[in-house]
């Protein structure tokens, strides 16, 4: 085989990521990829469900969903007609801290996509009839979610782990709060919390980075909201005092879902990398790590059983999830807890850690081949101040972790007497 280019050449770095900050506080990141005639935009603004009043849970999500229901220039139908006629897409999604957007188009239609992004964020009209239609769709979505064993096990888990903390509240709201939200609430929430400060826009694809920054400047550079509020500060999370077990009953289902877990690191914590490598050994690597080996490969008790670390701005979580026959819930819980015990009792072997380290480094080209993959990498860099050279430094960061680091971080977060065991099913 012929000589390959070094891995470094294909990974994003300071000389091929174009970063600019506009005068109104918007950060623009762009990288070219001319292998396909398409382009992806991705980003976020600093509003989310942390701003939701308790009685109007789901307000941020409702507002984000309603942005595309009509603007000062477009009806719902004419807006989507512009997008769909050229095979483009655009959508918003609200989280705790941010409301994110994602779109793609043929590169020739980037300008259209950015204009519609700007218009929907800045000039939504929230037409009454459309708000009511959307309300029915959201209520149906909640009804479907309440029948989903996996969703409900996750929601139950969060309620227990984050009790008394804003992270324990449902971002989607509940039927009562969705019914209580008025059009005026949406208008007010939008006027108050939407603004350019802290906004990040990433553009990746068959475009020139400099021209892209100019285009974003032309479209979004004059956006202002002097009253844009700071994010509400997060209270300290109260740690569990003992293991709490809760079952959410959904009658008539043939499979139950289990989520067992505890607190995890924040993305910016120093031990984040050690935790994710430990998590890989526990329930990711190969066929879902040690958990997959125990629950699926050896015992045949589940089609899926894996672990996950969810780490963002605030306190994260470390979970193990499995979908099992209701009769096997206890047996699988025991197997999972046995693996947690092993992780905190004995350090992972050098070989196990080396496997996961090689996987983390080796998979970079695959995770960064598409525009969407690069866009999420650039968003991560910006959101968590990782530095434009992060993916170049990444192999060294991964290799620096030792089995001792993994043991330390596992012991820091996993306490077998303080677990959340959430299940949903019949």
């Amino acid at each position: 085989m012929k000589l390959r280019l070094g891995v470094h050449r294909s990974l994003p770095g300071p000389e091929d990521i174009n970063r600019a900050v506009l005068s109104n506080g918007i950060t623009v990141l762009s990288r070219s990829n001319f292998n396909s005639p398409s382009v992806t935009i991705s980003g976020y603004i600093h509003t989310g469900s942390l701003f939701d009043p308790d009685k109007k849970l789901g307000l941020a999500d409702f507002t984000a969903s309603a942005l595309m229901r009509g603007t000062s220039k477009h009806t719902f139908d004419s807006l989507y007609n512009e997008l769909e006629s050229v095979g483009a897409s655009l959508g918003f999604d609200s989280g705790l801290h941010t409301t994110s957007f994602h779109g793609r188009a043929l590169a020739e239609d980037l300008s259209l996509l950015l204009h519609l992004l700007s218009e929907t964020m800045r000039q939504p009209e929230f037409p009454k009839a459309e708000v009511e239609k959307l309300r029915h769709q959201l209520l149906t979505g909640l009804a479907v979610e309440m029948q989903d064993t996996s969703d409900m096990a996750d929601i139950t888990f969060d309620e227990i782990l984050y009790r008394g903390h804003p992270y324990g509240r449902s971002e989607d709201g509940n039927p009562d709060t969705i019914k209580a939200i008025t059009r005026a609430d949406l208008v007010k929430f939008h006027q108050r919390t939407f603004g350019p400060r802290g906004m990040t826009v990433v553009v990746v694809g068959a475009v020139e980075p400099k021209a892209t920054v100019d285009l974003v400047e032309r479209v979004l550079g004059d956006w202002k909201n002097p009253d844009q509020p700071d994010e509400p500060s997060l209270p300290k999370l109260k740690l569990l005092e003992k293991t709490i077990k809760r079952h959410y009953k959904i009658a008539g289902k043939s499979q139950a879902d289990i989520v067992i877990g505890t607190n995890g690191p924040r993305r910016k914590d120093d031990d984040y990398m050690a935790a994710t490598l430990g998590n890989s050994v526990l329930g990711q690597f190969g066929m879902m790590g040690r958990i997959g080996e125990s629950v699926r490969e050896k015992s045949g008790l589940a089609y899926y059983a894996y672990s996950n670390i969810s780490a963002g701005v605030g306190p994260g979580s470390w979970t193990i999830s499995a979908g099992v026959n209701p009769a096997n819930m206890d047996k699988v819980s025991e197997l999972i807890i046995k693996e947690l015990k092993r992780l905190i009792r004995v350090s992972v072997t050098r070989e196990e850690l080396a496997d996961s380290q090689a996987n983390f480094i080796g998979r970079l080209p695959l995770s960064l081949e598409s525009n969407g993959g690069v866009a999420s990498a650039l968003l991560n860099i910006e959101r968590y101040d990782l530095g434009l050279d992060y993916y170049r430094r990444y192999p060294d960061l991964v290799k620096a972790i030792t089995p001792g680091d993994v043991l330390k971080v596992a012991r820091k977060y996993i306490d077998l007497d303080r677990l959340v065991i959430a299940t949903a099913g019949p």
């Binding site: 294909s10 095979g87 479907v144 959904i250 490969e297 045949g300 899926y304 090689a358 996987n359």
Partner: protein, 430 residues
């Protein structure tokens, strides 16, 4: 158009398609077998999918755990899929690591062990997979609709198979199925990425060439007689939400009408994304049926689409019914729209729009090496790679009259199955 790929057949009958793409230091390799759920009869439904699972359980040379770890260590990804007409296995690896995947595939084409102990735990894994599916109202409804649509053809049952068969099929049944269908003369390999064709071809010949051809595997095909009259099925289950699924008999992917029907699908329900990886995302909010059904609040969501199959299969329209409506009202509104496309010619502009949507979807699909390699073999399963390469060209020839003709020919109530999911509420068991 200059030839962008190489296609050849080894002396043992195995077909190879190679396409150089040097956009990223990656190679994706797919091996396809012409065997799927349509090659199964009771009490062995689901056996093709079970065999696919057992193909991850190792050979003497490559024990299961070793391979999983080796691929992951190299930063690769791999998976497999079983469908009505085919079963496929892929690995996408950093380019300098692809040899492992090639050796693995050549080995497990003939040397998988199917150990009894491994099978007994894998059986319950697949039973668990089916139980997970049964949690979903749309799976239960889809299964009932498919069974009603095919009385004779073996497209009758779901790929995962019936629970009764999953519980009793034996290791020897599986091994026989494996040995019958997993022969090089029943396999197609598609490989795309950062390689040199001449070198890669030599390596593939070295690895796959020595595998002996087997008897030509049988292909079960009992043509479905024309349906005479609308069929109705209903499924009851937990929840508060009703669903409606309408399935029309559709031609095979290689049929000349398939392209016009794809354009029609785009107009009615939004473009179907044919890519397995990395396409899609185009919404359908200005499709005719969305406007008629969702904007007018008969439904809260809608999707439509067909599959590219060897024999005639189905075109599905699936609706989440609005909480204030019943499925029958939604069906009446749907029928009004179907009639409109049969009675009035669509505009040329609508066809142009469908073509641009398809062009965008294909462009998104070319961002991934894995997806480009997927197409090489996938298209061969029901037509040829040329089918994919000329897809957009063929769309350009579709006229408003073609759309009207195929709408009249295929979207007839007499040849459809209408399925409803009737929710029995929360807290009530079946």
């Amino acid at each position: 158009m200059p030839k962008t790929y190489t296609k050849t057949t080894l002396s043992n009958g195995m077909t190879l398609l190679l396409k150089e793409i040097h956009s990223a230091p990656l190679i994706s390799s797919w091996v396809w077998y012409r065997v799927g759920s349509r090659d199964e009869v009771p009490p062995l439904t689901g056996i093709s999918h079970l065999v696919e699972h057992m193909q991850f359980k190792g050979t003497r040379k490559y024990p299961a755990a070793l391979i999983d770890k080796a691929v992951a260590r190299d930063g690769g990804t791999r998976n497999a899929f079983t469908f009505l007409d085919w079963t496929t296995y892929f690995e996408t690896m950093p380019a300098d690591k692809i040899d492992l995947a090639l050796r693995l595939e050549a080995d497990r084409m003939v040397n998988s062990l199917f150990e009894t102990k491994e099978f007994s735990s894998e059986r319950t894994v697949v039973i668990s997979e089916r139980e997970g599916n049964e949690n979903e109202p749309m799976f239960l409804l889809g299964e009932a609709v498919q069974q009603a649509a095919f009385r004779v053809h073996s497209y009758h049952h779901e790929v995962i198979g019936d629970m009764a068969d999953l519980k009793f099929v034996t290791r020897d049944d599986l091994y026989r199925h494996y040995r019958t269908y997993y022969v090089p003369n029943n396999a197609v390999m598609g490989i795309a990425g950062d390689f040199n064709t001449k070198e890669m071809l030599a390596r593939l010949k070295e690895l796959f060439g020595p595998l002996p051809a087997g008897p030509h595997p049988p292909r079960l095909s009992r043509p479905e007689p024309e349906q005479r009259g609308e069929q109705r099925v209903s499924v009851e289950g937990p929840g508060e939400t009703a669903y409606l699924e309408v399935a029309y008999h559709f031609p095979s992917a290689s049929h000349p009408d398939f392209i016009a029907l794809s354009v029609l699908d785009s107009l009615l329900a939004g473009p179907t994304n044919l890519n397995m990886f990395g396409g899609g995302g185009i919404s359908n909010k200005t499709s005719r049926l969305y406007r008629a059904l969702v904007d007018n609040q008969f439904a809260v969501g809608l999707s439509g689409g067909s599959n590219a199959t060897v024999d005639p299969f189905l075109y599905y329209l699936s609706l989440t019914v609005h909480p204030k409506r019943n499925p029958e009202e939604a069906l009446i509104a749907l029928d009004d729209e179907i009639r409109r496309v049969q009675d009035e010619l669509v505009s040329k502009e609508e066809i142009r729009r469908a073509i641009k949507q398809a062009r965008a979807n294909f462009a998104y699909g070319t961002e991934n090496i894995t997806n480009q390699a997927f197409w090489l073999g996938y298209a061969e399963m029901f037509a040829s790679y040329n089918w994919f390469e000329t897809y957009l060209e063929k769309m350009l020839t579709v006229t408003p009259k073609d759309i009207q003709r195929v709408a009249r020919a295929y979207l007839r109530p007499q040849t459809r199955v209408v399925g409803t999911y009737i929710p029995t509420g929360n807290g009530k068991a079946l």
